[in-house]
């Protein structure tokens, strides 16, 4: 198995799945696990190609966000405005968490981020907490969003 494929399976697909999960949680919709996993796997598989094709961090994120919007529209049946807002919010949140994670690890361990990126074991150790934190944040968001939607529905029924 090539190194590229290993990286895709270990990093890109789980990363894509948690970003899609985050987007679904922000939207407050009920999970459809098959759609969520399918869009996550497709997104994760396409990501390395986007990375190669764009060759720049900024362009890479912009194109990835567009792909996520399309996937949410197709698999989540979100309307276009909802797909755009939840996708951009999810990517924005994930990137902010990624930045904090890398910066914290760098401050605590003094390891250069480039070395972390190149060394598979170091990268896994950096990547794992990031995924777990993102899932936790997604579930917290889901709890609050669902609660708000529940309140909204209840008050609508009363009114």
């Amino acid at each position: 198995m090539s190194e590229g494929m290993v990286k895709t399976i270990i990093f890109s697909i789980p990363e894509a799945i948690v970003v899609v999960l985050l987007a679904w949680c922000i939207s407050g919709r009920n999970f459809k696990w098959t759609s969520l996993m399918a869009s996550g796997i497709i997104f994760g598989t396409i990501s390395p190609w986007i990375r190669l094709a764009t060759g720049s961090y900024i362009l890479n994120i912009i194109v990835s966000s567009l792909v996520l919007i399309v996937l949410l529209k197709l698999f989540g049946q979100h309307d276009i405005l909802e797909a755009v807002t939840v996708a951009l919010m999810a990517v924005s949140l994930y990137l902010a968490m990624e930045f904090l994670n890398v910066k914290t690890i760098q401050v605590l361990t003094g390891v250069d981020p480039i070395r972390m990126e190149q060394n598979l074991i170091l990268r896994t150790l950096w990547f794992l907490p990031q995924i777990l934190i993102t899932v936790a944040v997604a579930l917290v968001i889901r709890y609050f969003v669902s609660r708000q939607l529940f309140k909204l529905n209840t008050s609508k029924r009363k009114g």
Partner: protein, 286 residues
């Protein structure tokens, strides 16, 4: 954009947020020359320009949001005023309907020459009026009707009300709805609070008086001893000692009173909740 300012706002702020995050992360990566174009300045410049444009458009969006917020609040108050108007209208219609029925009976008894029965009927009718209606004279018909309806409501719920009016109110047509909304809210709050208490007799006191400059409206009711909070909390939007989703009453009262140049103060303590509203006479009458 005017059609749905909320959607536009969501979009603008989300795009802004992601672009700022991308820029932040990119600067971090640039420090290590990681995943960058050979000449990244063009892309960064473009991104910066887009963020600037979004910031400028955000000003318009924020202004629209502010206006929408004001309109929503206005609608909330208008709905409240109309709710009181509907209540007053119902009372008028009920009396109108009753009087028509009674006149029919009177006419019937008269035409049959049954004067004894007519006298008994009219005596009973007058007794029922004395028992059922409250003779309130505040100087304003709308406030009289409002107080009558609230007193009738209190009576139907076995709530004792002490009413004392030592002033003759004067109010211009343009402010009357605001005054009805203010007093209606305060009275509703008092009656609802007392209704939820266990004690059999928990009087509500209503006292209207005037000093040389202002009309004063004071409503006092019993409250659970566990309830008292800091006075300023009661005026916060959404704050309520009742169930969730309530808490607009005193917030709206404060807004309306301040619009009339007046002030509201509350005094929670010793198992009593007192609301005092002071409105300058010249503002109410102008």
């Amino acid at each position: 954009m005017k059609k749905n300012v909320y959607k536009a706002a969501m979009l603008f702020f989300t795009i802004q947020s992601i672009l700022i995050t991308i820029l932040l992360n990119n600067y971090y990566m640039k420090k290590y020359s990681f995943f960058q174009l050979n000449n990244p300045d063009g892309v960064e410049l473009f991104l910066g320009f887009i963020i600037l444009c979004l910031n400028l458009v955000a000003l318009v969006v924020i202004k629209r949001l502010y206006i929408s917020g004001l309109e929503a609040e206005q609608l909330k108050m208008t709905a409240l005023k109309y709710a009181h108007l509907v209540e007053q209208n119902q009372i008028y219609r009920q009396h109108h309907h009753d009087i028509k029925n009674h006149l029919n009976v009177v006419l019937g008894l008269l035409s049959m020459g049954k004067y004894e029965e007519l006298r008994d009927y009219l005596n009973t009718y007058f007794r029922s009026i004395d028992h059922g209606l409250f003779n309130i004279e505040t100087g304003l018909d709308e406030i009289d009707v409002l107080l009558s309806s609230k007193l009738a409501l209190a009576k139907s719920k076995d709530i004792l009300v002490n009413l004392s009016i030592t002033t003759n109110l004067r109010c211009s047509r343009k402010h009357i709805l605001d005054l009805v909304a203010i007093l209606g809210n305060v009275l509703d709050n008092a009656l609802e609070t007392v209704q939820g208490l266990d004690q059999p007799q928990c009087p509500v006191s209503i006292h209207f008086w005037q000093d040389p400059l202002e009309y004063n409206f004071e409503v006092t009711n019993s409250m659970p001893t566990s309830s008292p909070c800091a006075p300023e909390l009661y005026f916060k939007e959404g704050f309520s000692t009742k169930q969730e989703g309530r808490g607009e009453g005193l917030f709206i009262v404060k807004r309306l009173t301040e619009r009339l140049g007046g002030s509201v103060s509350v005094d929670p303590g010793d198992g009593q909740f007192r609301v005092i509203i002071e409105i300058p006479m010249h503002r109410l009458e102008e």
